[in-house]
């Protein structure tokens, strides 16, 4: 270490003083992206028409008004909530399991939701995104509960390693059941194909109002985990020494993740990468303090998600590309770049 470099404490303090305004700036960026998401789409609608529709906030029956108010506004709000939920859920999972690859997918949430959707299609014969939401939600929560229960077996409780293994095992088990069913049922395959890509299309007000309460409560609760996650990051024994109830923290964190990722996956299908990559970016900006990582993840993730969705809507007019596909194409190289060029903070 060179003599001229400032002591670490000053660096952290300086960082903290910049992080507050940074959050405000991110809020402004999110607002700008949300505006973009309402004004841009697979159909060209003049800005004045969009603004007129927004001002009156009443569907006057014109196509531009219907599209703005009934398609784009709910889609944008859903994108913000789902993005925020996935980002913060990923950050919490990475913190609580101390696993840099943790996200909703690795904890069995996507496979649980998919398995329940397939069950709903094949056994109960239901159809349509509006109904799948609730099955997916139940499936996500059931899978996460199962992962936690399996990892909790044994005296030492749900350790990070056991959580990762249980998550992988439950994911593999549920995924093979799902593919077993869809291989023999072409209807289920067709239905699941759309759900499984992850999309904000075709999700309107009923879905938004259905999942919004869960997501809002979950997001509020998630922000309270900063200090506890900082403690866990020091290692379980040290956290215990600092007076933390490690087991209780973990259960509470998992409950919040189940609600957030469960509701998000239920609404839009399994959306990849956001929950995995965004917390790393947040950690890169904020350093190891979860009191900052969580709100940063909560704002960065919807920005990424909405931008990807807008991109998917404008590249293939009059068709559109699902946001899950755009994220996979755009985010995978971004993740590689982050890993290659940025020194990632340790989880």
């Amino acid at each position: 270490m060179s003599v001229v470099s400032p002591p670490a404490t000053t660096r952290v303090a300086r960082r903290a003083s910049a992080l507050g305004p940074g959050l405000v700036a991110l809020c402004a960026v999110l607002a700008a992206v949300a505006f973009l998401s309402v004004t841009q789409g697979s159909r060209d609608i003049g800005l004045s028409e969009v603004l007129h529709a927004l001002r009156s906030f009443d569907d006057d029956g014109s196509i531009s008004s219907t599209i703005t108010l009934e398609l784009r506004v709910p889609r944008t709000l859903l994108g913000i909530l789902v993005g925020a939920a996935l980002g913060v859920a990923g950050a919490i999972l990475q913190g609580v399991t101390r696993n840099p690859l943790a996200d909703a997918g690795i904890m069995g949430i996507n496979s649980g939701a998919a398995a329940f959707v397939v069950f709903a299609i094949t056994v109960l014969g239901v159809r349509g995104v509006g109904v799948y939401v609730w099955f997916a939600f139940a499936g996500a929560i059931a899978a996460l509960f199962l992962v936690y229960a399996i990892a909790s077996l044994g005296r030492e409780g749900a350790t990070p390693v056991k959580l990762a293994l249980a998550g992988a095992a439950v994911t593999a088990g549920l995924a093979s059941v799902t593919s077993g069913i869809i291989m023999t049922n072409v209807t289920a395959l067709n239905e699941l194909r759309f759900w499984q890509v992850g999309s904000l299309a075709g999700r309107y007000a009923p879905i938004l109002t259905g999942v919004a309460p869960f997501l809002l409560v979950g997001l509020a609760a998630a922000l309270g985990f900063g200090r506890a996650l900082n403690g866990l990051a020091l290692g379980e024994d040290l956290a215990r020494g600092l007076g933390q109830h490690v087991g209780r923290t973990r259960v509470a964190a998992f409950a919040v993740v189940a609600v957030l990722a469960g509701a998000a996956t239920a609404a839009c299908g399994p959306i990849v990468f956001v929950g995995l990559v965004v917390p790393h970016v947040a950690r890169f900006i904020c350093g190891p303090d979860y009191r900052w990582i969580l709100p940063y993840s909560m704002l960065l993730a919807p920005i990424v998600l909405l931008l990807a969705d807008v991109l998917g809507r404008v590249v293939a007019q009059p068709d559109e590309v699902q946001v899950g596909v755009v994220l996979g194409v755009v985010c995978a190289p971004a993740f590689v770049a982050i890993v290659r060029y940025a020194r990632l903070s340790e989880v």
Binding site: G125, G202, D319
Partner: protein
């Protein structure tokens, strides 16, 4: 038949496989075929030959229905969905016929081999250069069906009428008496239906229709170029819309995002029969904010479109009659 797959096929779930595997020898009740060597030129242009006319035939669903309409009963059938719901098969007596598959891309080849077939009949799909049951995406194991016996079939090309005529020729070569009165009656009924349809269309100048398939994330508009029954309707004088930019990788459809649902404004919507129900229009109006931006949908001007399954004069006649009624009831000024 890959055209099934891009959209939400809302076929009813397959029921349990109807096992009739023990009656393998009761099929093949074809009338005595002409003795001597047999040959048939399929839709691919390939000629299949045999020492005598085949009698133990395995056929794909609609093709089987076509042969059965001429009195040729196959020994085995493979279908894309449950034979109880397949539009070609659901009203037919399938007793004595072994069911070899009730799902797209899955054929029980072992069971098929036990039937000792001497001919496999499946439509030829020119866009995919394959017979039904041997297209890309079909199970590799299922494709081995083609090794059991020669494969032939009529081309799913530009017309259901040509398809029906092709199967009539095939049935005739297999020994069917295609001049039987009930067959002639079906043909006559079809011709009458065509005449009635043409009259109805002539009486509605300016009526435009589009074939569509609404799905959760998109609206699919059918491209008549790859839907023979729509080409037939065009040839009968109906103005069926040709979408401007079909999906290049899957030209059966043009995909419209729901924001662009009103890109086309037909006066009457032919709704994919695989998802059409009496209440579908109202349901979609409720659930898709832009569905009723299609003026025809708003006005309730929708009718089931027999998408990609017709094979026989009889079925085509029945479906045409329904379309005739819809054309008669349609208002050519709805779409504007």
């Amino acid at each position: 038949m890959r055209a099934w797959r891009p959209i939400l096929a809302v076929a009813v779930l397959s029921a349990a496989i109807a096992g009739c595997g023990n009656n393998t020898d009761s099929g093949g009740t074809a009338p005595a075929a002409a003795a001597g060597p047999w040959s048939f030129t399929g839709g691919s242009g390939q000629v299949v030959k045999a020492d005598k006319a085949p009698t133990r035939i395995i056929a794909h669903a609609g093709e089987a229905a076509a042969l059965m309409s001429f009195g040729i009963k196959p020994v085995g059938i493979y279908s894309d969905e449950s034979v109880k719901t397949d539009p070609n098969l659901k009203n037919l007596d399938l007793s004595g016929i072994t069911i070899l598959g009730e799902e797209w891309g899955k054929i029980d080849v072992e069971k098929a081999a036990s039937l000792a077939p001497d001919l496999i009949v499946g439509d030829w799909w020119p866009a995919e250069k394959a017979h039904s049951g041997m297209e890309e995406g079909v199970d590799e194991k299922s494709k081995k069906l083609a090794e059991l016996a020669p494969v032939t079939g009529v081309s799913q090309g530009k017309s259901i009428v040509e398809l029906a005529e092709g199967y009539e020729a095939l049935a005739k070569s297999l020994g069917a008496d295609v001049d039987k009165p009930e067959i002639a009656a079906n043909k006559k009924r079809f011709e009458e239906s065509v005449t009635a349809f043409k009259d109805a269309v002539t009486a509605k100048p300016g009526l435009s229709v589009a074939a569509m398939s609404p799905a959760d994330d998109k609206l699919y508009v059918a491209n008549p170029e790859y839907a023979p029954e729509l080409l037939d309707l065009q040839s009968f004088g109906l103005d069926v819309l040709d979408p401007a930019s079909p999906d290049p990788s899957f030209p059966y459809w043009e995909n419209l995002s729901w924001e662009n649902a009103d890109k086309y404004q037909p006066d009457l919507i032919l709704w994919d029969g695989r998802s059409f129900t009496a209440t579908a229009n109202a349901e979609w109006g409720k659930k898709q904010p832009t569905w009723f931006k299609l003026k025809a949908a708003k006005a309730g001007a929708t009718v089931s479109w027999p998408a990609f399954w017709l094979h026989t004069y009889g079925d085509f006649a029945t479906e045409l009659d329904k379309l005739t009624e819809a054309v008669k009831a349609a208002d050519p000024n709805v779409g504007g």
